[in-house]
Symmetry: C2
Subunit: 309 residues, 2 copies
Amino acid sequence: MSVTVVGSIAFDAVRTPHGARERMLGGAAVHFSLAASFFDEVRVVGPVGDDFGDEEYAVMRDRGVITDDVEHVAGGKTFFWSGVYGENMNSRETLETDLNVFETFEPKLSQASREADVLFLANILPELQLNVRRQCERARFVALDSMDLWINIARPALVAAISEVDCVILNDSEVELFTGEREVVAGARTIMEHGPSSMVVKLGKYGAALVTADDSFWVPAFPVDFVTDPTGAGDTFAGGFVGAIAAHDGEITPDVLRLAMAYGTAIASYNVEEFGTERVARLTGEEIVERVEELRRITAFEPAPVALR
Amino acid sequence: MSVTVVGSIAFDAVRTPHGARERMLGGAAVHFSLAASFFDEVRVVGPVGDDFGDEEYAVMRDRGVITDDVEHVAGGKTFFWSGVYGENMNSRETLETDLNVFETFEPKLSQASREADVLFLANILPELQLNVRRQCERARFVALDSMDLWINIARPALVAAISEVDCVILNDSEVELFTGEREVVAGARTIMEHGPSSMVVKLGKYGAALVTADDSFWVPAFPVDFVTDPTGAGDTFAGGFVGAIAAHDGEITPDVLRLAMAYGTAIASYNVEEFGTERVARLTGEEIVERVEELRRITAFEPAPVALR
């Protein structure tokens, strides 16, 4: 059994109120695969250029991530993004986006990647997501991420891709943009009319919600002492969430999805404590379990009889 | 045993994307007392003018709220506020604030109000909050609400008031304004250095957090189908929270505070479904219990062994 992820591999430059990095490993597929690597064998499909070297491969391989399907485009440069976070960390401004080899990326999946048990379609062109999804016929769980750009300029293609996956992961502003619904549950159900049986709505620093046909589940962000860099938190969450589902052999019940939300939340909370992949690259399973248990403790309350008037 | 609340009694005019009211009963003390009335005897201390009549008193009295300490200022007009909510309901613009009789309000507590078991100091001038707090010597639990205005122009007086209460209730932007801390727990603990043993940080549509000396607890907003008017949600939450604490005879343990957070959340969720006090005025205990139980269901997850790599 294994997980395949298709998406961006990047170098990021970020400045936050707590520091800066000129060039750090990033990209949705990288953050996702590091988080998912705690649960299952992970194969990464994405393009890199000549500037992508052993040091970067090592970050993934040291966590057991299989990079055979990382496509090296000779003469090309790796996707580059730079941005600045505002004082409250909730807003960020993109300074530069150089798609480079990502611009003409056409995912090429090896036989092993196509045989994935679980598939994550990170945020890329919806047509490519659908194409990859159809190549992975055996996948028993497929999740898809997207962004405002595709909602705005490629809605029909996005709807087509969504209609063939099990779970859509978006943030709350994207759900509202997509559906016009302000309420999380109503917006998620509108998107689920296209086919998915569940949806995760990310609420940024406030946590995330899981919506299924007749239920919802809410988890706060794990309260860390200090947020250094939120870059990649959403994809790290997705990696923990999808990974925990992949680690579960049997039927994907609401309980399995809920616990997976907790794993995603726990790993994402480590991600934001340092820049880029720095913290998750040296994370341990014990540390993850610790925060999952703590998350349960800080959200639980016991009903007790209260006489109401 | 009883709860005393000191604060504003008002007429509100609001416009939201879903409708408008030209003149509805409002004010922090009113919203608080309706919610708290489900748990204990509640006494309201606040000023009204000649325009405040039987119809308004009836809303409170029908819920058993004791209005003996509502001060009728002859020749005066009741506090009036009008505002408009933006499309996403998260921002609101104040159009008009006529303090009227509230401008020269000096709380006068009857013997019965001074003997309160539990006291809530709604958002008024910090000097008045401290004055009232000192009159209620027997109160075993005192909570205080405030706002950005007092943090900006009356910080020393606010700190003095905070130093003599058990629990401070603010929203996250107010905590950041007060302390410069972006993280909820760190900000709350900074405020608690002045004396309070607990703090509630309201997160608007995302829920609320309870912070104690060595613990935190997080509860999402209850997911309603439709938000009609958020006015008074924070004070309704406070009424349910403080009321549930008042209903508990014994020691105020973390478990008591957590369950109280759930009650506050449940009642506040009804408040936003209709304008002003309209929904809570006809709420039943059964409906409250239903949402407290549902809230527990939609936040619980079961740990299960996951083999981590």
